[in-house]
């Protein structure tokens, strides 16, 4: 956004089984007017967003909240819902949250360690230890090799893991485990009038391009429409 005509910069953080570059290539192909970078790791996004703040950040709604200067403008929905259910997945028997003081759960980091601990405690009773990984695919080895007693995972990814593994994967339902789907956060108005006008144009371009995405590309982002 440094000069007129530059493509508006969009950062995407969407932990999924698809590699970030594949999502980036799909988005770049569908949104040639945007400068899209997809991050697989939160630390990468945070570092880059601090250095070169983008005009928009796409991230799961709870994760978006940690980027203070961005306000949600679009919320992704799937099957009419803006949230998806998370469950605990374990091998052989259901995981009993709170039953074992020394228990641990694996999870993908969508906050820093302290934030992730607070997030998980809001969902999983009993304050288990959190074993963080940086990629969704790493959660299956966490479970199989016993690095944690259970993993915290969306129902969508649980179905994918069940396709990949022959182990007896058992899910445990959780209360309060509805987690916001991908949302689009826009940077608050730029301080200079000229830059503000450019940002307004960029924002309009971003929203138009995202709303025009086809079903296949939206599915890569875990949603089927925007609201």
């Amino acid at each position: 956004m440094g000069h007129a005509g530059a493509r508006p910069k969009v950062f995407v953080f969407f932990p999924s089984l698809a590699r970030p570059l594949a999502i980036q290539e799909a988005l770049a192909g569908k949104c040639p007017g945007l400068d899209v970078t997809v991050f697989g790791r939160l630390t990468d996004l945070r570092a880059m967003a601090a250095r070169e703040p983008p005009l928009a950040i796409l991230a799961p709604l709870p994760a978006l909240g940690q980027f203070g200067g961005y306000r949600p403008r679009l919320q992704g929905i799937r099957n009419g819902s803006a949230t998806e259910k998370y469950v605990l997945l374990s091998i052989g028997k259901p995981f009993a949250p709170g039953a074992d003081l020394g228990s641990s759960i694996g999870a993908v980091g969508i906050f820093d360690r302290a934030g992730m601990s607070a997030f998980a405690k809001g969902i999983v009773p009993g304050s288990p230890r959190i074993n963080l990984v940086t990629k969704v695919e790493d959660l299956l080895p966490v479970l199989i090799f016993g690095s944690a007693d259970a993993i915290l995972i969306s129902e969508t990814n649980m179905r994918e893991f069940r396709k990949k593994s022959r182990a007896n994967l058992v899910s445990t339902e959780l209360k309060n485990a509805q987690v916001g789907l991908l949302a689009v956060g826009m940077r608050a108005a730029a301080p200079l009038a000229g830059a503000g006008a450019e940002a307004a144009r960029g924002e309009k371009d971003i929203l138009a391009a995202l709303k025009a995405l086809d079903a296949g590309t939206l599915a890569l982002l875990g949603v089927d429409a925007w609201q």
């Binding site: 089984l17 698809a18 590699r19 970030p20 570059l21 594949a22 970078t37 697989g40 790791r41 630390t43 990468d44 570092a47 880059m48 980091g109 820093d112 360690r113 230890r129 074993n131 963080l132 990984v133 940086t134 990629k135 695919e137 790493d138 299956l140 080895p141 966490v142 199989i144 090799f145 690095s147 396709k163 990949k164 593994s165 022959r166 182990a167």
Partner: protein, 324 residues
């Protein structure tokens, strides 16, 4: 993302400095030099955040156990991270020199070492992460990629790796995959020929669905590759799984699918172990286990893969790098 990674890596010294300024828990890292070690360091530092201060020492000529003891005395680290077998060797010797009656020798986490389980055997207060990617991780990734079922995988090994192969086989059973080993005894004269015979046996008699080539330098000399592996693999026609990216480079005629350690992920995993150590008051339990690496980097040689398996196209989205 490579360009991004390079740019971020350039900021690693700043991160280290920042971490050192405001942090309360010093961590001493003994490591080798090289890009893989730097990437692991990046994962460690960035995933631990600024609450930890890092002191890094590149292990090179002249640095030995006495120098390690001096470093530990000067920095009083809460924990140590050891990268590579040489760092572990120095740590083991330094531990013996240390007088525990005043200040206890810090616990350590070892990684990026060949057979880290053997390397830290008998070393107190030390845990680690295997550098070898478990067969099961590799086979599950293959199963996700291949339309054909993967029930049986062959491997050629020497007695030194027998326990590793046995443990791998036990893990594989949990996923209904049978790992069949063809063992080549120590002292075999014509190893290239033994490799050819082993591949033939695994193909014709065992009828394996894939072949796993271990990262064992004993079998991976230029001569054995040229006269053993390559002629036999030309008639193998099943997926060949390797642990070295060069073996799936275009024109290598060797592997179809490489599943490698993700070095940033190794650092992140070590970061998690350090956090747990801190939560436990910097005490390592008696039964601290060596963990398997959780994160991997997958490279597919599309041409070789297409010759040896029917690929699920949607699974290509999960492969980190596809070479053609």
């Amino acid at each position: 993302m490579n360009r991004f990674r390079r740019r971020m890596r350039a900021f690693l010294p700043v991160l280290l400095l920042f971490a050192a300024c405001g942090a309360s828990d010093p961590i001493l890292v003994l490591r080798e030099d090289g890009s893989d070690f730097r990437e692991t360091m990046e994962g460690l530092v960035r995933e631990l955040g600024p609450e930890f201060a890092f002191e890094e020492k590149i292990v090179e000529g002249g640095f030995g156990p006495r120098e390690a003891v001096s470093l530990i005395a000067a920095h009083r680290p809460r924990a140590m991270v050891l990268m590579d077998n040489e760092a572990i060797r120095i740590h083991a010797a330094a531990q013996k020199l240390w007088n525990d009656s005043v200040v206890p020798y810090p616990p350590a986490i070892a990684l990026m070492a060949v057979r880290v389980d053997k390397a830290i055997a008998g070393v107190r207060n030390t845990s680690g992460i295997f550098y070898e990617v478990p067969g099961l991780t590799i086979f599950l990734n293959l199963r996700a990629l291949s339309k054909a079922p993967i029930h049986k995988v062959g491997v050629i090994a020497r007695p030194y790796m027998a326990d590793f192969v046995r443990e791998s086989a036990a893990w594989c059973e949990r996923e209904s995959i049978r790992l069949v080993s063809h063992e080549i005894p120590d002292g075999r004269k014509n190893v290239a020929r033994a490799v050819r015979e082993g591949i033939r046996r695994l193909r014709d008699r065992e009828k394996v669905d894939a072949l796993w080539i271990l990262n064992d330098n004993y079998f991976l000399t230029a001569e054995i590759i040229r006269e053993g592996w390559i002629p036999a693999l030309e008639r193998f026609r099943k997926p060949v799984l390797v642990g070295v990216e060069n073996f799936v480079s275009p024109g290598s005629r060797f592997g179809a699918y490489a599943v490698l350690p993700d070095h940033y992920g190794l650092g992140a995993q070590a970061a998690g172990m350090i956090v747990r150590l801190k939560e436990d008051g910097w005490r390592m339990g008696q039964k601290a286990k060596v963990e398997h690496p959780l994160a991997v980097h997958k490279v597919l040689n599309l041409e070789s893969a297409r010759k040896s398996m029917r690929i699920r196209p949607e699974s290509l989205m999960e492969v980190d790098k596809v070479v053609e």
